[in-house]
Symmetry: C2
Subunit: 186 residues, 2 copies
């Protein structure tokens, strides 16, 4: 138990999600999460800064991965093509994680403070993607527009993936959403 | 002075903007705003709930106007066409208000709390626009995608309009941004 337990972090996340669903995010305490996981509060704080971080711990890595994939996409691709490569990379990360994503989405939808945090995360991703596109030689206004469209696709695609009756690869759903935008224009 | 002064509200807004620019939003107090405007705090609170509301007072009306224009756009228009009508209506509201918009943008960019509020405002607009498009018979996923694209255009277009060296009608800049999205797809 404790320090050397291999999956301590996952156990804490699972316990937190259960309590957020049962009691609500605001009513859940770190002490309660630790108890449910059969661990101490001290162990919790070795893994997460606070109870909110259980939900947002991977955001920085996700943004970095998305941006890197866009930056390193084949040079011949235009802005939307490069974003499609980024969305594929993001989709792979979520393989096998739909149940967690679904629970997380429900907790966030129920709590205004968390919705704000989620919006900030998306705005940060949009700014970082615009930067990556400018690095690829896309003009500033087009880079910002394309990045915002990429985030719109990510947001709508993510919701669709989480809510679908059957589990499909996230990459496929994202491609569909991107095709949806193209269809609107045509 | 005070209650029956015709342009009290505008004087308060002007005084607030000056102080936000000079001292920063966080360091500005309602007492300071009232003093600068030559009015009392009590008068301030008859017009605004708090110092943040000076910056967001028109948000609800703007959203309602945008949504109504989309809802009432000619029936033959597709989702992006209806959004273009909405963006035109929004553009008209800002005629002659670029200086205020520019100051407001600078204050918001400098304050994390205000950026969050701005993101929430945009997310609320996106949800309301998606609802208006569904009412027009647009399928749910396309309605959400189109609404997010509309907000992307509004966000990028607004920044471009505010930052441009010369003042152009906002509607023209919004149309350009929408054409920019179309150009990305083609």
């Amino acid at each position: 138990m404790g320090r050397w337990e291999p999956n301590t972090r996952e156990r804490l996340a699972k316990a937190a999600m259960e309590l957020y669903a049962e009691r609500g995010f605001e009513q859940t305490t770190v002490a309660g999460i630790a108890q449910r996981a059969g661990l101490t509060e001290r162990t919790f704080f070795r893994h997460y800064a606070d109870k909110r971080e259980v939900l947002f711990a991977g955001s920085g890595e996700l943004e970095a991965l998305f941006v890197r994939a866009v930056a390193e996409a084949p040079g011949g691709l235009g802005p939307l093509g490069a974003l499609a490569v980024g969305l594929d990379a993001v989709g792979e990360v979520f393989t096998g994680r739909r149940e967690f994503a679904r629970q997380r989405q429900a907790v966030i939808a129920a709590t205004a403070e968390l919705q704000e945090r989620e919006l900030i995360k998306l705005a940060s991703m949009a700014a970082a993607l615009a930067g990556a596109l400018r690095e690829r030689g896309v003009e500033a206004p087009d880079a910002s527009l394309a990045a915002e469209v990429g985030i719109a696709v990510f947001k709508v695609g993510f919701e669709r993936w989480v809510e679908a009756a059957d589990e499909r690869p996230m990459g496929d759903v994202m491609r569909e959403a991107l095709d949806g935008v193209k269809g609107l224009v045509r």
